[in-house]
Amino acid sequence: MFIIKYIKEVYRGVKSLLVGMKRTLYYFTHHKEIITQEYPDNRDTLVMAERFKGEVVMPHNEKNEHRCTGCQACELACPNGTIKVIFKNELTPEGKKKKAIDKLVYHLELCTMCNLCVEACPSDAIKMAQTFEHSVYDRSELTKILNNPGSKIMDGVE
């Protein structure tokens, strides 16, 4: 009968809406189940995953030495020309001329965080840092020089 079908349908409809409302009310009363993070208020306690790809950096030891030999493998591996290796000539203690890196220029604004340069580096001179707040007022600030001023290559790294 039409009328019974109609009433049944109304009943079914109202029930389905109430089921959904129950779920909403459940979360309204169960605050523990809410998982949002209140960034940036939690910046002090925020832990990023250790592999998070935020920026390429070159670690230096306490004597201001890095491991980069200037082999340019990273420059070749990079798909979009983010890294440029600039050389200078250095004199070794024996008085011989030796090639060393002057600057390892890194354009953060071009980088796609693909990790290919880190994979390609044969002497583990660069790695990914976990920083992610990269906004600056002028884009020239995004061009970085990865080796510290006055830094040298570590002993024993070929």
Binding site: G13, G20, A49, R51, P79
Partner: protein
């Protein structure tokens, strides 16, 4: 752009939806011819997010071009990378170690779940329900955390490389995935309570946007859009790659062909992905995660094609090699493009309000269509 004005009869109105419209999920521009509220024609205009990825790939080496494909269908970036890696491996004839194969499949299925979850939230939001979006993102967030831990990124991973995967699994991976599986099982009934069973939702989905199996095939639809019409086209079953032929899972099929069928397909596919993950998570073999490959990859002269099943359908990667270090030509067969082309066909004659629901069930990702 509006030469089609001439074909309309008097009384028709033409409205533009997009390219900046929340319902189009990206920069898609639809020119809709309306008669009253009835749709007479839908014409998609593309190209707003064309980045010429195919051309770009021609100047990149076989290691480098994979990262670009994450930017095509950004919701299944793992699977895109997987397709490219497989195609390059086909040319190089390298064997992928068993551990890498299992890792790849695990990542693919996690991506599929994450993608369907985002789709579910966005679908409900298109129809006016706002809360489900957050429920979907809660589960998706835990997948993103797993990805972040192992691959170092949340959306554009670049984790698959020719010969295997880039890094080994994070030591916490298995634990985190098991936690996710538990969370998912505890929460899955909410999806039905909030949306699937809802009477308003059902009335707006059932019988809307009918796509017949013949049309699905002739328009080249794939993935859930075609399986909703009963066309069996799951590449994981039809042309198995990696270890999919050794896994137990069902190809999800519905026969109704309407929006609700396509909706149910994706919900049920998530269950199948869970099933695959459960089979693999305790059986990850030991060994290398990457095969030894040369530093500079060179594909032999020839043509190579590989297809995979992304969350949206069949993705094909076609590489023409001249024997050099970069491909001579690359073509991607993207699922979104064919699925969008059927929109005009299924939308004709229905009401304007239903168009958003139909677009939602086709699960369009615009960067994938434009590339």
């Amino acid at each position: 752009m509006f030469e089609e004005v001439g074909t309309t009869t008097e009384g028709d109105i033409i409205i533009n939806v997009g390219p900046q419209h929340p319902a189009t999920h990206g920069v898609l521009h639809l020119v809709i011819t309306l008669n009253g509220e009835t749709i007479k024609k839908v014409e998609p205009h593309l190209g707003f997010i064309h980045r010429s990825i195919e051309k770009m790939c021609e100047s990149l080496t076989y290691r480098q071009f994979i990262y670009v494909t994450s930017r095509m269908d950004y919701l299944s970036s793992h699977i895109n990378n997987h397709a490219c890696a497989l195609c390059v491996e086909k040319g190089l004839q390298v064997e992928v170690p068993p551990r890498a194969q299992v890792i790849r499949v695990l990542m693919d299925e996690l991506t599929r779940i994450a993608s369907h979850e985002l789709w579910w939230g966005a679908m409900a939001m298109d129809l006016g329900a706002f809360t489900p979006f957050f429920h979907a993102f809660r589960e998706r967030e835990s997948i993103n955390d797993i990805m972040e831990e192992t691959c170092g990124a949340r959306l554009t991973m670049n984790y698959m490389v020719p010969g295997g995967v880039m890094q080994d699994l994070h030591p916490d991976f298995q634990k985190r995935v098991k936690e996710f599986l538990q969370l998912y099982k505890r929460k899955i009934h909410e999806y039905d309570e909030l949306v699937t069973g809802n009477i308003i939702f059902q009335n707006r989905m059932k019988g809307i946007g009918y796509l017949s199996p013949e049309d699905a095939v002739s328009y080249g639809c794939s993935g859930p859009a075609a399986r909703g019409s009963g066309v069996s086209c799951d590449i994981r079953k039809v042309y198995p790659y990696e270890i999919y032929d050794k896994l137990e899972f069902d190809e999800v099929l519905e026969t109704a062909g309407d929006s609700f069928a396509r909706y149910m397909i994706r919900l049920r596919e998530m269950q199948q992905s869970i099933r695959i993950i459960e089979q693999l998570i305790d059986n990850i073999p030991d060994g290398d995660f990457q095969a030894k490959t040369k530093a500079v990859l060179k594909l032999p002269k020839g043509e190579f094609y590989q297809r995979v099943e992304t969350a949206r359908g069949e993705l094909g990667v076609y590489i023409v090699s001249e024997g050099g270090t970069t491909p001579y030509r690359i073509k991607f067969r993207s699922p979104g493009f064919s699925n969008l082309s059927v929109l005009d066909h299924i939308a004709r004659g229905s009401k304007l309000g239903d168009l958003v629901a139909m677009m939602g069930t086709l699960d369009l990702v615009i960067p994938d269509i434009d590339r």
